[in-house]
Symmetry: none
Subunit: 220 residues, 2 copies
Amino acid sequence: MKIANLLNLLLAIAVVVLALKVAFFSPSPTTKENRTTVRQETPSTEVLENIFTRTSVRDYQDRPVEKETVEQLLRAAMAAPSAGNKQPWKFVVVQDRETLNAIADNLQSIKMAAKAPLAIVVCGDLTLTFPGDGIDYWIEDTSAATENLLLAAHSLGLGAVWCGIYPLQDRVAFLKELLQLPENIVPLNVVPIGYPAENPTPKDKWKPESIHLNTWGEEL
Amino acid sequence: MKIANLLNLLLAIAVVVLALKVAFFSPSPTTKENRTTVRQETPSTEVLENIFTRTSVRDYQDRPVEKETVEQLLRAAMAAPSAGNKQPWKFVVVQDRETLNAIADNLQSIKMAAKAPLAIVVCGDLTLTFPGDGIDYWIEDTSAATENLLLAAHSLGLGAVWCGIYPLQDRVAFLKELLQLPENIVPLNVVPIGYPAENPTPKDKWKPESIHLNTWGEEL
């Protein structure tokens, strides 16, 4: 009987250890390793792939874009660099159907706004930019912000397209009146945004002949 | 006998726990699910994180940047959108030490070029841009290309900084002569690039007050 008890005890300990091991410890090491590997390897690949696969999307599903997602897009835009860190940008988020339709009806190149649940108008604030000779830096800064916005949208599964406004003065005048922009605010573009209803193939724009080494005319 | 019963009870409990665990929580599906979730979730996270953590880097290690890496940066730049798909950009890759030093010596705001193994000068090609009223679109297109380049550099572990040239005419004239640029080529900026020798904290530039809803003055 004592031997039987001893055997039972040993057996019970073995099974309890095994049960605890399976219940609490076995899957985690593998999973953790996998997660770490995925996280460490992805950054460069994901970022470059997102840049290479982004393209203009002009047709959208009838589905609203969540407020938190819109905020992510704007955070990305405001993370852009700017000359002298002046951040000379302002953003008008257009969600009102009538305003979106007015844009679509009056600007032929932005007619896709009629189907978009949302458009963001990226503007320059001339009171925040460099004076005199450096005035055009606001165009560069707001353009960098727009590119951040487009890349963020693509990474979040949204489709978007950069529709130029400035420097075309008739377009600038129309939008300034429609959106009641103050004198110092210049609309650079309109970016209609939505969940894609089309899946266009990104253009291959790689042209080695556009690259020069050290001085003009030398190949890389 | 009582001890034997107790041990048998323990054994039974252990076996039940083990059986339940195996039946309902077996490791393989969970692990697979985790992997899938991680892969699906990472793109957006990595892309946004790369945008939010990019910042100007002005000090570099004494270490060359691989030719394949430079090509990745240029591919990223050329993947930018452009008005009418005109791709009005050209790139001068400056690796020559004397040229980099000449830039550092003559342009106070680009003195970090003296330590950089490399700088890319992003230029606009005025023969490729819109004529007349739309002429300034080249600034927007080359700025979007520059932002792609900066984001790609950051994702590849490089540090870089956008140093403005255009619209400051003295800087434009100096670089045009130094790099022997034809009349139609305008340098937008110089981007010194290298493996970082500093780790600056990205600025928090989030300003909800820069966002308006539908028309100017309405809060999001």
